[in-house]
Point group: C2
Chain length 219, copies 2
């Protein structure tokens, strides 16, 4: 168990909890470690989700199959990252996709109820963990809301401008860098890459923005 402490220490779920207290914590929430071989299902589609997962080693991927039968990877979680937390907290009756081990992996599974309901001992660290979990989910929520605001716009220009405006506000400056290359930005905005490039050029020619590579300035 001890050999995983360095990884768990970096897991945001345990933010603000000292290493020395981690051991007590883990007893308190009864985390169990499971091993999965490459391709094996960590959580199967259709199950009722009870556990929050933490990747200790390896990686898991969340996969979805669309109505054409195309399977695509929605996200992956690497060591120290948590997954399935929203489904566990929402007490999802049927997981709408499959979570599998991308490679041979060790996963810690924690019963969500043990996290949310403070133990009888009511340890102070438990409270920290609840706070962390709430913050994680709420932050994702805000990010998803922003993305929805962007993608609900109808044109590439509107999507891009909405994104740039949100980013400028976040950076508290008209001039900022973005952490995406063109293709990734296009995927995020839900538009075609070449169309996005064209739109950036157009906005630049119209004197609405300045841009060079992934650095932008709103005028």
């Amino acid at each position: 168990m001890k050999k995983y402490f360095d990884i768990l220490k970096n897991c945001i779920l345990f933010d603000g909890i000292e290493r020395d207290n981690l051991e007590n914590m883990l007893g308190c929430i009864n985390g169990r470690i499971e091993e999965y071989s490459k391709g094996e299902a960590v959580m199967q589609e259709g199950i009722a989700v009870k556990d929050i997962g933490i990747v200790l080693s390896g990686a898991v991927q969340i996969e979805r199959t669309d109505y054409y039968g195309n399977r695509s990877i929605i996200t992956t979680a690497e060591p120290g990252e948590i997954f399935a937390e929203s489904f566990a907290c929402a007490e999802t009756k049927e997981l709408p996709f499959c979570i599998t081990a991308a490679v041979k992996s060790e996963i810690m599974l924690i019963d969500c109820k043990r996290v949310i309901h403070t133990c009888s001992r009511s340890c102070e660290f438990h409270s920290s963990m609840i706070y962390n979990l709430m913050k994680i989910i709420a932050t994702k929520n805000i990010l998803l809301n922003q993305r929805t605001e962007i993608t609900s716009k109808r044109t590439t220009r509107d999507k891009l401008m909405t994104y740039l405006l949100i980013t400028a506000k976040k950076n508290d400056s008209d001039s900022f860098s973005i952490p995406y290359d063109r293709q990734t930005l296009a995927d995020f905005l839900g538009v075609d890459r070449s169309g996005l490039s064209a739109e950036i050029s157009k906005l630049r020619n119209e004197g609405i923005i300045e841009s060079r590579k992934n650095r932008f300035r709103l005028l």
Copy 2:
């Protein structure tokens, strides 16, 4: 205070908490009641959000101004509904939009920290409230994820089919009703209403779905 108990009783944040215990609860979390006149800001853009809001009477609306200067209402909250909970839990430093009273309203504001951190008395109801809050935010999260999955598709057909497939799975049946009229569905999917109608007809002609008004069946 007592006159608001009926409203609070229906607030999902207090699910599973008996009326008799509600009063203790409210002391424990120190909910304060504020009154706002029509149009007055309940939470101003740019502030650091600390409180979760509950509408006791009237209604609040969450408004956003886009880069053209058009102001639009993102959502409204009516009596018994909560708002700003994600921003409070995520400890948002700058609220990205304004929350105003749509009409003369009474609002209960609760310091989020008081909710998340169980009180020294560690009352059992507090634990219920944390559980409820977590479930609310996690559920929204899942819904937003689904919406993102839908709107990230490029064509009206793909968006519609993804939505129908998710709904069918949720209803555990190929045949189901949807809670939207055409315009609302179009807004939700992020597409043009007339184009959506046309696409539904096309799918029907191709024998992929049956549909009558807001009832659908996947074939």
